[in-house]
């Protein structure tokens, strides 16, 4: 009996080894932010599945929702030599700087595969003059408003500071969180918009070097954050909650407003497309541009040098990169929403006299971590805005 069992196990082992040996194609590793609540996730996965079927290759995808830990994870994989072959990651930002010698420029790929003619988007040009990533969607950020709540309390949309103040006071009185945000988790939207509301867009994009004067609006902006907190614009647990919870408050109509990006619009249920609108965050200073928003193109698909240098993988990886960035894929993975929400978004972007790149994308990771960590203290007044922003600049936010 034991001999028979041993024989069967040996045969099974041999067969499985044979199966491996006979398997066609290669296995490619991918990583992206098409995961979690990103509505493009099913389309992204479908594109990968189509690629597997068409090419006979396997794709192992390790996508996850984008946050600081995800960014760090991608960099850690590079450090350990365990990077993906194709990845969707930040480009032309401080986050992409450490990986440039480990990814392949699109120009280099086009030289070797001229028939593909991959898009070289100049918006994603790195400091060395090369473009390493192919974008599939651009983004904008703005103030999402539950219009039905404003209608319920007979309030005007928060298109200027006075209207915002009135809305905050009214919602607070009625037990609705005026602005949904987690300062301990994802504070960057509100930090960016507070700066933008407190001075000209050019100051938001100033990029002061260490030792240079801190733009006035950077300090005033942090004071706007404190003022909002004093007005009761945030939930009691603003310094100890998560973005998942605060976003749910907005979706459940327990919060009236939320600063977020275009990806957030995609996550809103269709029945809310007509009672949700997006507007620019109101200006608090006369020299601030009330139409200015945050936006641009900051992510794209990369091919890593590791995959490029592997003769067994190169063709397969290039093929996958071309597939993911084809016109058809770009259309499928684009933002999908409609109704009043889409109309207001088009209006906001169309009327914007300035579209600023997020400061957080451009500054040093260590400095950014410090700035974000101070958001709760800036809001409750236990940190001084001038001291914090001076440290941000002097610690080398911009190199």
């Amino acid at each position: 009996m034991k001999k028979t069992l041993a024989l069967l196990l040996t045969l099974a082992l041999c067969l499985s080894m044979g199966t491996f040996a006979l398997a066609d194609g290669v296995t490619l590793k991918t990583v992206s932010t098409f995961a979690g609540t990103d509505p493009a996730t099913p389309q992204y996965n479908a594109i990968l599945a189509e690629y597997e079927q068409e090419s006979g290759n396997k794709v192992e995808d390790a996508s996850a929702t984008s946050d600081e830990a995800w960014k760090a994870g991608v960099l850690n994989d590079f450090a350990a030599g365990n990077e993906a072959d194709i990845m969707f990651y930040f480009a032309a930002t401080a986050d992409s700087e450490p990986i440039l010698d480990k990814v392949v420029s699109i120009q280099e790929i086009n030289e070797a595969y001229p028939e593909l003619n991959l898009t070289v988007n100049e918006l994603l040009t790195e400091a060395d003059g090369n473009v390493y990533a192919i974008p599939v969607r651009s983004f904008w950020e703005g103030l999402f408003v539950n219009k039905d709540l404003f209608d319920q309390f007979d309030l005007e949309l928060p298109t200027d500071w006075a209207k915002l103040e009135l809305a905050v006071a009214t919602f607070k009185e009625n037990g609705i969180v005026p602005i949904a945000v987690s300062l301990s988790d994802i504070p960057h939207y509100i930090l960016e918009f507070c700066i933008l509301s407190a001075g000209p867009a050019s100051e938001h994009q100033a990029k002061p070097l260490s030792g240079e004067a801190v733009p006035e609006s950077w300090i005033k902006g942090m004071e706007v954050l404190r003022k909002l907190n004093e007005m009761g614009a945030f939930a009691e647990d603003v310094n100890a909650t998560t973005e998942t919870i605060t976003s749910q408050l907005f979706r459940d109509k327990k919060a009236a407003m939320q600063l977020d990006g275009s990806w957030f619009a995609n996550g809103l249920a269709q029945e809310n497309w007509d009672n949700t609108v997006v507007v620019p965050f109101p200006a608090t200073e006369d020299d601030a541009d009330p139409t200015a928003i945050i936006g641009g193109t900051s992510m794209g698909f990369y091919m890593t040098r590791k995959a490029w240098d592997d003769p067994a993988k190169r063709d397969a990886a290039v093929q996958l990169l071309a597939k993911l960035t084809s016109d058809d894929s770009v259309e499928r993975m684009g933002f999908v929403f409609g109704g009043e929400l889409l109309k207001s978004a088009k209006r906001m972007v169309g009327e914007a006299k300035a579209m600023c790149t997020p400061i957080q994308d451009m500054i040093d990771t260590e400095v950014r971590n410090y700035w974000f960590s101070q958001a709760p203290a800036l809001a409750d007044g236990t940190a001084d805005a001038t001291e914090v922003m001076t440290k941000v600049v002097n610690d080398g936010a911009y190199k």
């Binding site: 590079f78 450090a79 988790d185 100890a240 919870i245 040093d364 260590e366 971590n369 709760p376």
Partner: protein
């Protein structure tokens, strides 16, 4: 001599030592070296030599002070509540005739649940809007409480940390108790020792070594605490007040990309762990009496 020829022992010892060398001592030495060079990001190479600058910076870093303070507080709490509660529970369970096995399983159960799952569970307890605790308060007509407020957040994260490991020390102490020969108690009973006297003069001295081991394990465990705080109070929320040495090291290394400073914190964790556990171990041995 049981092992006249000791050479075969080397066959077993050398691979284990080599593994320790590669997986523990080499990274530790490298970590000390890294803490003295400027290193940006996980993919970064060591740049300028900065000596002990990172260790100096710790003295002016308020978050580091909070982390050390919280870790020390957690150490004290683990000894009192983890080992203390485990001892009380073990003494009670040891004294019952029926159901010992049931209580062993019940108290040990939290250990087998993943810390992440426990963390998520407690997160759901603490949510201000609709969390379990506030739902219960709501049933009694009470207002919701902000459980992770500045003044209560440390306690709220300490509760699950302490609760999870009580069962671990409970099992160790119970095993120690079961190893005490029954005839010792019989002799004591003849001499008139019962109840508290029996516990204080016979049981506790006989499991002193077990308790010292538990205290040492809980102290070293407390200084390394990471998983539950990382899930329940990520980013040291609120206001960075709930950072522990482990979570602050993780933040600096993996989020801020401040590799050299993260390495320096790791060195401090090891040094503190060794110094404190050794001190406590010797102190307890002295207090208990060398010949006890």
């Amino acid at each position: 001599m049981l092992y006249r020829d000791r050479r075969p022992l080397l066959v077993f010892l050398v691979p284990a030592f080599a593994l320790m060398l590669v997986m523990l001592y080499y990274p530790f030495v490298l970590n000390i070296i890294n803490s003295m060079f400027e290193i940006k990001g996980m993919a970064g190479e060591p740049q300028a030599f900065i000596g002990i600058q990172n260790y100096r910076d710790m003295f002016s870093d308020p978050t580091m002070a909070i982390s050390i303070q919280n870790s020390l507080k957690m150490m004290g709490l683990t000894v009192i509540f983890q080992v203390g509660l485990a001892l009380v529970l073990a003494l009670m369970v040891d004294s019952i005739k029926k159901g010992q096995q049931f209580f062993r399983v019940v108290f040990f159960f939290p250990i087998v649940i993943s810390a992440t799952a426990i963390g998520l569970m407690f997160n759901l307890f603490y949510i201000r809007d609709g969390g379990m605790l506030n739902q219960i308060l709501g049933l009694f007509g009470m207002d919701p409480v902000f459980w992770l407020d500045k003044s209560t957040a440390f306690t709220m994260v300490a509760i699950p940390v302490l609760w999870q490991y009580v069962g671990f020390y409970f099992v160790i102490v119970l095993t120690g108790l079961s190893s005490i020969p029954e005839d010792v108690y019989e002799s004591a009973a003849i001499d008139g020792a019962t109840g508290f006297k029996k516990t204080f003069y016979i049981t506790l001295p006989l499991i002193r070594d077990v308790l010292i081991t538990c205290a040492t394990l809980s102290i070293t465990g407390a200084i390394k605490v990471f998983d539950l705080p990382a899930v329940i109070v990520n980013n040291g929320k609120p206001n960075g007040l709930t950072y522990f040495l482990g979570t602050y090291m993780h933040n600096q290394t993996f989020v801020a990309g401040n590799i050299d400073y993260g390495s320096a914190i790791a060195v401090v964790i090891v040094l503190l762990g060794v110094i404190i556990s050794q001190t406590v171990n010797r102190l307890l041995l002295r207090v208990g009496g060398e010949d006890a």
